[in-house]
């Protein structure tokens, strides 16, 4: 589903974000990218959804070489992947329903599809009945659930999560992790960047560890260390 081949990415001429990274993620996998801040986890996610382009090497997503993709095709690549962030990136002027509907609206989905899909995904993330709230009326965990609902409402092949539990207390983070696990069970490939030891150790999934841009460990059923 995702393959990196000898990918190097630098910011400016000095900072090496990722150095010669190669790995393969099969369809339906759940992968943790771990390592301290600045080790290149977020950069890898940004390379996968083509927010960044590598300096050397290739990034493949669903059989497509992402680097060769013309800019005009990038939106269609991104429709295959959902994104979840540490800071949720919800639109404060829109309700829960509107935030989720927005993701469908801007890719041109007709209204009746939106009206059908949004309640289903709200139910999935456990927010049924809160569709008319605004983000600032929700707890952090609930806001993250909205953001996951928005990422998943289009049934993407891949879910990219960048520190999704970073702003949450452990109990709430656990809830988010079980939600991501549930989404993974539906066949969606999940790649999650984190430095949260607890969630990695509790899940026992594949772990790719980065240190200053270099992959130092790639282990099935790994722990954080």
């Amino acid at each position: 589903m995702i393959r990196l081949e000898n990918v190097t990415k630098r910011y400016g001429s000095e900072t090496v974000a990722v150095r010669d990274a190669s790995f393969d993620v099969a369809k339906g996998d759940f992968v943790f990218l771990v390592g301290p801040s600045g080790s290149g986890k977020s950069t890898i996610l940004r390379l996968v959804n083509r927010q960044e382009r590598p300096e050397r090497g290739d990034v493949w997503v669903a059989g497509q070489n992402v680097n060769d993709l013309p800019d005009s095709r990038v939106p269609f690549l991104r429709r295959n992947m959902g994104n979840v962030f540490q800071d949720y990136k919800l639109l404060s002027g829109k309700t829960v329903f509107e935030n989720i509907a927005f993701a469908l609206e801007v890719i041109g989905k007709p209204r009746h599809v939106i009206a059908r899909q949004v309640p289903i995904v709200l139910d999935l993330v456990g927010l049924a009945g809160k569709e008319d709230r605004f983000p600032n009326q929700l707890s952090g965990g609930e806001q993250q659930r909205v953001s996951i609902a928005r990422a998943f409402v289009n049934r993407p092949l891949i879910l990219l999560a960048d520190e999704p539990t970073g702003n949450l207390d452990p109990a709430t983070g656990e809830g988010i992790m079980s939600l991501l696990d549930e989404i993974n069970q539906t066949g969606t490939t999940v790649v999650m960047a984190t430095h949260d030891h607890r969630v990695v150790n509790a899940m026992r999934r594949r772990v790719i560890q980065l240190d200053r841009g270099v992959i130092v460990r790639d282990q099935e059923r790994g722990v954080y260390e």
């Binding site: 269609f76 990136k89 609206e105 801007v106 041109g108």
Partner: protein
């Protein structure tokens, strides 16, 4: 498809209302710029009424009495052609009564009283003379000769009637054209800035749109529509101003004494509509261009 169009218009309208002060500034500037463009065109046209008989370097017009015989006309023609060192005989033009009457309709467009006194029968015909010489004194001395020929009613010299107006007209045209161009650029700049601000205010939204796979065109179109609407509203405002200005001017000029020439400085209403149409197009284009530049440059937020 309908969902997309509805979306674009909804977003355009929301953004339009959100930035009301900037939007008002952009609209007002484009309105003033376009008003100047329109005024330039109208002034140009009004002067042309006065200058139409002097088009093409004509320096002297020999008016022939309406009751002149063909022999007298032939004699005048011959006399003019007999000075080929002073006069460009290839460009010598004779307008018969019908042609002169057509011309008079334009000259006296704002002076219906005088025009009603003229008919294709009682109007003089005319020779239009283009000189070769640069020396106005030579042309003037020729005019004295022609005046004494039988059948000649009068000889008019551009020097006396036309040069002041011509110079004035060129000056006014240059000044208004430069001013309106500068203002037009300012208007495009202001629209650009308004759209840029609108996009900056919504950068989080745009970021989310890009991440969930909205195409750049989908993101861009509402902003471009917003700019287009600003330019168009500016144009509509300026059309109103232009209409008011023209009505006031036409009414004011009607009070002048006939025959002073000032009363010719009006434009036909068909021309006014054409100018308004052009202004609407320029306004819409300026808005679309300003916002398109902004939308392309600031999409990478």
């Amino acid at each position: 498809m309908i969902a997309r169009i509805a979306y674009a218009f909804r977003e355009m309208w929301a953004s339009f209302r959100r930035n009301l002060t900037l939007t008002a500034a952009a609209i007002l500037t484009s309105a003033i710029a376009l008003l100047l463009v329109g005024t330039t065109l109208l002034i140009q046209r009004a002067f042309e009424n006065l200058l139409v008989q002097w088009k093409g370097d004509v320096a002297m017009i020999v008016f022939v009495r309406s009751d002149a015989t063909p022999e007298q006309i032939a004699l005048i023609d011959e006399s003019i052609r007999s000075a080929p060192t002073i006069i460009n005989v290839d460009k010598l033009q004779y307008l018969d009564k019908t042609q002169t009457y057509e011309e008079a309709k334009r000259i006296f467009v704002g002076d219906p009283v005088t025009l009603s006194l003229l008919t294709p029968e009682n109007i003089p015909s005319e020779f239009k003379v283009v000189p070769i010489t640069q020396d106005p004194a030579l042309v003037r001395s020729l005019s004295e000769q022609y005046r004494s020929l039988p059948g000649v009613e009068d000889v008019a010299l551009a020097e006396d009637e036309f040069e002041v107006i011509s110079t004035l007209s060129k000056f006014v045209r240059t000044v208004t054209l430069v001013m309106s161009l500068v203002l037009l650029v300012v208007a495009v700049g202001l629209i650009w800035n308004t759209i840029r601000t609108a996009m900056f205010a919504r950068r989080r939204e745009i970021e989310v749109m890009k991440l969930v796979g909205a195409t750049n065109w989908f993101i861009r179109v509402p902003f471009m529509l917003e700019g287009l609407l600003q330019g168009l509203i500016g144009a509509v405002v300026s059309c109103g101003g232009l209409w008011a200005l023209n009505s006031a001017w036409t009414n004011g000029v009607a009070g002048f004494k006939p025959g002073t020439g000032i009363s010719s400085l009006v434009v036909p209403s068909g021309y006014l509509s054409a100018v308004m149409f052009v202004i609407l197009i320029i306004g819409a284009l300026a808005g679309a261009i300003g916002s398109a530049i902004a939308a392309s440059r600031f999409l990478d937020v």
